[in-house]
């Protein structure tokens, strides 16, 4: 990453995108599509979260070790959720 590179414009664009996505997720919640609602909400949240991680937290330009460390948290979280649900839902 180049220290002398200014990120102001990138941050502004990410900020704008996050606001638009928030508006979309709130708007969608007023319509009832059944199970589809939660998938849209989680998809939009994940896109927003990824933008925050990649640009605001600089994970995009960070070194590989930090990227792997942070992503590992979500791998373990998925294991935690998956194994717990496999018990609760199928007992």
């Amino acid at each position: 990453m180049n220290v002398h590179h200014d990120h102001n414009k990138t941050y502004l664009a990410v900020f704008g995108t996050l606001l638009i996505l928030t508006a979309i997720t709130v708007a969608v919640s007023y319509f009832h599509f059944g199970v589809f609602n939660i998938f849209v909400a989680m998809f939009v949240a994940t896109v927003k979260g990824s933008l925050v991680c990649l640009y605001f937290m600089h994970l995009k330009d960070d070194n590989r070790v930090n990227q792997v460390v942070f992503i590992s948290a979500f791998v373990f979280l998925a294991l935690f959720i998956g194994l717990t649900l496999s018990d609760v839902l199928f007992r």
Binding site: S29, G49, F56, H58, F74, I81
Partner: protein, 234 residues
């Protein structure tokens, strides 16, 4: 990474004056167990990322509880969720995203030696964080008066599903833990504000403000998931 590297000479440090070889012009000293300023910076950052992993797994426990109880009581959760104010939740989401933006700007300004502007962005971040907590205060007050409280304190009688009170236990635990992170973050941001005012941060040493920034963005990231899960599931 093209940080100004302050390398130490191969010969051992002999006197107090030689220690200043490892200082940047604003007086920051690279700890003696690091070879270079870059190495110190990378080590700090890896430490913060590891800390964030533990944070995600701590909140993860609550998310798992939420997912399990919601999977078992979908109607009760949908009904209980209607007692949250979508508009207030949405305003708080916008406020927290704005605070993340000003925080990112503050880090960027510090990296370019514009510490005065950085301090203004930190003040703006503090302002947005306060707005978030004030809105949270109004939401909590409303729920406390209605008796929508966790576990045994739950006295509200307008829910048709008995398990609806589980939702409020999770609501208070999740937003409470998140809110305490906002408070801690505000303390750290104020500390960074002082560091900028006293000019102890610069383009050669901006580790603290960048680390606080990464933490603050995590607080935003968690809210990005809390908002739809708690407010938008009706």
């Amino acid at each position: 990474m093209s940080l100004n590297q302050i390398t130490i000479a191969a010969e051992p440090v002999q006197s107090a004056s030689e220690v200043h070889l490892r200082n940047d012009r604003k007086g920051h000293v690279v700890p003696h167990h690091f070879e270079t300023a870059t190495q110190a910076y990378e080590a700090s950052k890896l430490g913060v990322w590891l800390f964030l992993v533990t944070e995600i797994l701590m909140f993860g426990g609550l998310f798992v509880a939420y997912i399990v109880f919601r999977a078992l009581n979908p109607q009760a959760f949908a009904e209980a969720s209607h007692h949250l104010d979508k508009v207030m939740g949405a305003i708080n989401t916008v406020v927290l995203i704005a605070s993340s933006f000003t925080m990112a700007m503050a880090v960027n300004e510090t990296r370019h030696d514009r510490v005065k502007r950085a301090s203004y962005f930190l003040l703006a971040t503090l302002f947005f964080a306060s707005v978030f907590l004030v809105i949270k205060y109004f939401e909590y007050t409303h729920k406390i008066h209605a008796g929508l409280l966790p576990a045994g304190y739950f006295t509200y009688e307008g829910l048709s599903h008995e398990k609806g009170k589980l939702f409020f236990s999770l609501y208070f635990l999740m937003t409470g833990l998140h809110g305490s992170h906002v408070l801690v973050g505000m303390g750290l941001i104020f500390w960074m504000f002082l560091k900028c005012r006293f000019k102890s941060l610069s383009s050669t040493y901006f580790t603290p403000v960048e680390m606080v920034g990464i933490f603050w963005h995590l607080v935003d990231l968690i809210w990005i998931y809390l908002f739809p899960l708690l407010y938008l599931i009706g």
